[in-house]
Assembly symmetry: none
Homo-oligomer: 209 residues x 4
DNA sequence: GATGAATGAGCGTTCATTCAT
DNA sequence: GATGAATGAACGCTCATTCAT
């Protein structure tokens, strides 16, 4: 069997995706160019195009990989309570973001949209992940962990958007945050999320008492 | 004064910036091209370059415009309490976002950084706005409206990042939200923010009671 | 009579030509741009185009002015011997070159050619100047001042080309020459010219003796 | 070795440089455009940019090529006397000029300067060639072949500038010179050079005798 | 008569993608 | 199967020239 070859190929492909993800994080979609990628991986451009039919497909597969990882993480947490799972998930994303290991932020909305439209299997993964998170949210709402007045999709998106706090476009000029500061920030964000979505607390009253 | 000509010019320039902002939102920085912009505004490319010395300067001015609007909004609220001001500001940003009138989210981190570096007056506006918000946050913390344990910059960035909830890269595939839904979402987000940053509420206890 | 207006116009035109000549010397034809010229002269571009129908016509007229000056210089010398006149002319050109007051060198051969073709009155001046110099050369040859074996046109061109010694494209990297050095160089070049074109001297023999 | 591919590439690159040199001569730097060049060579523009990183680098390499040829020529003559070497060199340059195979004259001083500054290896070649010629001149002066009163750099530049006699900007209108005429002109120029720089001959006296 | 404002045409450069070996 | 070499299509930008006031 040519299984050994096949496996090597898969390994190369995987490695390529990993490098692509790194470059996407470092420079964003627009600045990811196929020449640089091929060179960085150590293969030629035609080979790259044998692995992936186009830049967008490559990016789509890279994203799929990210979604897969997310789903893996979600599965590993299944014994906890829904809110705990969401918290844990958020914490994971924040950590990978603080270590610059997260593309999401870099992805241009329009680019993502156009890619999603053209690569249906990506949509599947995307929707699957959103669905799982959405179900978690609704379970949490049913159990009284999360305020049922908040639309589930808002909570799901909040999980993704809150990452932006760590590196938003307006921060680069700031002094670099120390690891210590980042760790504290992560805790604050997680706290903010939990307290923000938790079951109705009569805000004014609570504070004034 | 023959300011009629001058005024028309300023109007055209303004219109150009507006269209540029729209295109930036719709296609992102990388896909904003000067030909398209010129055509869309109804002027020729050289004219565009008479108005703005380069694409980056154009974008910088567009961003400055956004910051100016933000600062205006902030000034108009000065009689309210710090937290109320922040809430109002967040609400404004969410509204303009829900009407697709906000670039921020679309801006690639790298691109922003490079532009900010080259157009110092943009940095000024950026820092000024952040400073104002930061001071508001700290005042709110001093007055017990906001949890002083959360770093001020985290709260400031939260104000910007929470907008992402309305249009994040993973939502485009969803069915379009109705105006009704969006309005509700905005309220949820504002609530989430306020409750999330408010002074320490022993979370678990509150929920369990 | 509107003569006063007319005179002012001519003065403005003249001034424009002078500035154009300066810019031509400083940046060459390709880098002479009409915006810069207009601004430097202190008039608007449309006005510039009222004075001169096109960039090339402007350059043509500037060149004509140069030729006129040359011819003036030549006329002023008419009482001297032919060779003395040539020497004096060469010296003048070298001086204006050493003071960066000479376009000739900067003019691209092709550009000149295309301009010459389109503006016949320039050809006239060009040919007139060349003719005068050619006649001088031939007179000098008839009088035994210049070696009659050298084609007259070679001598004429030599007068122009020898200027290049002072600023040729390969010299910019050199240390700047002091005024003293330049003055010496000019004398050397004049000497080189005179000795080079003078009546046959059996070279080898002369040296060896 | 599969050097056949490699060799074809080098040939193409070489051909490109050759065509570039021709176009530089025919139209000058400013009018050398990459589209035309690519088409003339029979390759696409991106290919051109794979060969050379920029227009300026291309021109720099073309110039370097010319300097290399000059240096080769100089090396081949090492057994002759210094003045003979200079003469031979001048003759070679005149010949290649009369066959339109020489850029030098066309190069705008400003353009050259900017290119030289940016491509240090070009400066090296330029200085090396000038140095060699300068040393030849000084040797000739030491041996009494060349007038030691003339600064060496003036003689070196004369070698370059005298070429201009064959095609100076004011000649294009002339009737084309026949090959015969050109050959004679070359001899005259060489003679002019030798006699011009040779050891002091009391000019007036010699002529009058 | 003078000008602020506008433009057609072109140039240098880049990038995702494919051909030929 | 892997690659060096090639390319179509854009894009940011500039400049001589003209329109409208």
């Amino acid at each position: 069997m040519a299984g050994i070859r096949e496996r090597q190929l898969q390994k190369r492909k995987q490695e390529t995706l990993d490098v692509a993800l790194r470059l996407l994080m470092e420079h964003g979609y627009a600045n990811l160019n196929m020449d640089e990628l091929a060179e960085e991986v150590g293969i030629s451009k035609p080979t790259l195009y044998q692995y992936f039919n186009s830049k967008d497909e490559l990016v789509a597969q890279a994203m799929v990989r990210v979604f897969e990882k997310m789903e893996e993480h979600l599965s590993e947490l299944s014994e906890k309570s829904p809110l705990e799972q969401l918290e844990h998930f958020l914490r994971l994303m924040l950590k990978s973001r603080s270590e610059k290991r997260n593309i999401m932020a870099q992805m241009d909305v329009e680019v993502m949209h156009s890619i999603v439209q053209r690569y249906p299997y990506m949509t599947e993964h995307l929707l699957a992940t959103r669905l799982k998170l959405g179900q978690l949210v609704m379970k949490a709402q049913a159990q009284g962990e999360i305020n049922p007045a908040i639309p589930a999709w808002v909570v799901v998106n909040a999980v993704f958007s809150l990452q932006g706090i760590l590196h938003n476009p307006f921060m680069k000029t700031d002094p670099q945050r120390s690891d210590q500061e980042l760790a504290e920030a992560i805790e604050s964000i997680v706290h903010l999320f939990k307290q923000g979505v938790c079951n109705e607390i009569p805000l004014q009253t609570t504070i004034l008492n």
